[in-house]
Symmetry: C3
Subunit: 119 residues, 3 copies
Amino acid sequence: MPHLTIEYTDNLAGFPEAEVLQAVNAAVASHPQIPEEADLKTRLVRVSRFEIGTAPANRAFIHAQLRLLSGRSPEAKKELTTRIADVLRRLAPRPEGVLVQLSAEIVDMDRPSYSKERL
Amino acid sequence: MPHLTIEYTDNLAGFPEAEVLQAVNAAVASHPQIPEEADLKTRLVRVSRFEIGTAPANRAFIHAQLRLLSGRSPEAKKELTTRIADVLRRLAPRPEGVLVQLSAEIVDMDRPSYSKERL
Amino acid sequence: MPHLTIEYTDNLAGFPEAEVLQAVNAAVASHPQIPEEADLKTRLVRVSRFEIGTAPANRAFIHAQLRLLSGRSPEAKKELTTRIADVLRRLAPRPEGVLVQLSAEIVDMDRPSYSKERL
């Protein structure tokens, strides 16, 4: 069930897409709260139209959103954003003169209405 | 007000986009909790950068997210994800050797701050 | 921390992307609840696969989603969607014969698990 979406701005030249996907999935799927590796569905979104703040500065961002069925403890959630941020911090390009912001959030999904199956 | 987003991975060749959009809108808009058909705004997102789990397997997913103003009953929400899943199960391609996961979630939108108008 | 995503359907020819990004960021970042302008990360998403309702009509939409760390008052949230809608109403194209829907929502992000840093 976990759904992970990682956005990154396209001024982060050389963002290692395949490596990020594999490393972040390994980090998240090995957490005890993620019982089945096959359930982790991760998307990478390259953001080409964006604006960060209002000052005329050179800025970029990477943002991860992990959606989980509700019921995880605050501790488990914090561990998961930490694991994701650790991977992204390690692999993110740092272009000269660009301020790069990295963030990660957890979203609780409504459990009673969630529908899931394998076709 | 309902906002529906359906993502599908691009290894689902032949995904019938127009047919899915029409069928899913018909199924959702005819539910008693959706008073005005014109309010249902559905996007289809073809996902090209993704990774499912960690095992070297051939996997795909389809995921629907329906955003509603808060206040619907748990029963109505479950009916809506069931309707959406029914359409997607019927129309989804099933490529040989690919494990396809299908999921659907409801998200409550904050009603007091929601803004809506017709231009 | 605020994350703003603005979607618009691609039948809104001439949508002024750069102008919208700058105007909406100016409007949001100047709100007292947004302490640091550099934190506002706005994406514009051009939606090319969509279906609005079920009737054979010519329809378009613009939808904004602002994600904030939880804890803002209902009044502040309403002010923020109002500011966003004001900008979009002013700048949105109004193609002849097309019904354009404009909406904006606020989403509370889970504060304890949120992770944020500058690289």
